[in-house]
């Protein structure tokens, strides 16, 4: 089972770039890496997903090294509204194979300060 490890908490200031790293040493060949954001009293919300190298969308970038044993979520120029818990999720894609568990990491509480 691909277990993940993240820092428990991080602090940042408005306008800075924030990088959160997730370790997943036992990731399987057909596992994808997905990051979610969760605000209090809400369900998690999808941020970004990738398999290898770099993925970028309108809110974040995801960097995955060649060995795929870790990944880094990069949030450019954070604001106060980015204060939330960020979860790293490793699990299989759907299609021909759907075996394996979907496991959320511990979550990283990001506190953005003015």
């Amino acid at each position: 089972l691909a277990k993940t490890t993240q820092p428990i908490s991080m602090d940042s200031y408005e306008g800075q770039e924030v990088n959160i790293t997730c370790s997943h040493n036992n990731i399987a060949t057909n596992d994808y890496i997905t990051w979610y954001q969760q605000f209090p009293s809400q369900g998690p919300r999808f941020i970004i997903q990738g398999y290898k190298t770099k993925v970028t969308n309108e809110v974040a970038s995801l960097f995955i090294p060649a060995d795929r044993k870790s990944s880094t979520l990069s949030l450019p120029r954070v604001s106060l509204s980015d204060t939330a818990v960020y979860y790293c999720l490793v699990g299989p894609f759907y299609g021909s194979s759907n075996t394996g568990k979907l496991i959320f990491g511990q979550g990283t509480t990001l506190q953005v300060k003015p």
Partner: protein, 120 residues
């Protein structure tokens, strides 16, 4: 597009009582998940359905928890009898099956707001 609907939002019961949660996934999503999230922890998968069949229920405490997804659409999760340690937020999520985009298959889960259960 409507999101994942869950009800009720809050529930307070006494231990040994029973409780049921309801989830209506996004239209067309074949996969439905139930998670338990204890305060300060990440969500833990309880059960995963593909249409109306169970894919994974290995972490579901089957002596007290049950779930069903009749007709492959909405789902109910039941706890009977409840224990103090069942106090948590119960999240429902749904996803499409293998959405292929730019040679990558995505499995994005969309979550409801959850049901906060307090067992006294």
């Amino acid at each position: 597009e409507a999101g994942v609907a869950q009800s009720p939002r809050y529930k307070i019961i006494e231990k040994r009582q029973s409780v049921a949660f309801w989830c209506n996934p996004i239209s067309g999503h074949a996969t439905l998940y139930w998670y338990q999230q204890i305060l300060g922890q990440g969500p833990k998968l309880l059960i995963q359905f593909q249409n109306n069949g169970v894919v994974d229920d290995s972490q579901l405490p089957k002596d007290r928890f049950s779930a069903e997804r009749l007709k492959g659409v909405d789902s109910t999760l039941k706890i009977q009898p409840a224990k103090l340690e069942d106090s948590a937020v119960y999240l429902c999520a749904s996803s499409q099956t293998g959405v292929r985009e730019r040679e990558q298959v995505k499995n994005i889960q969309y979550f409801g707001a959850g049901t906060r259960l307090s067992v006294l």
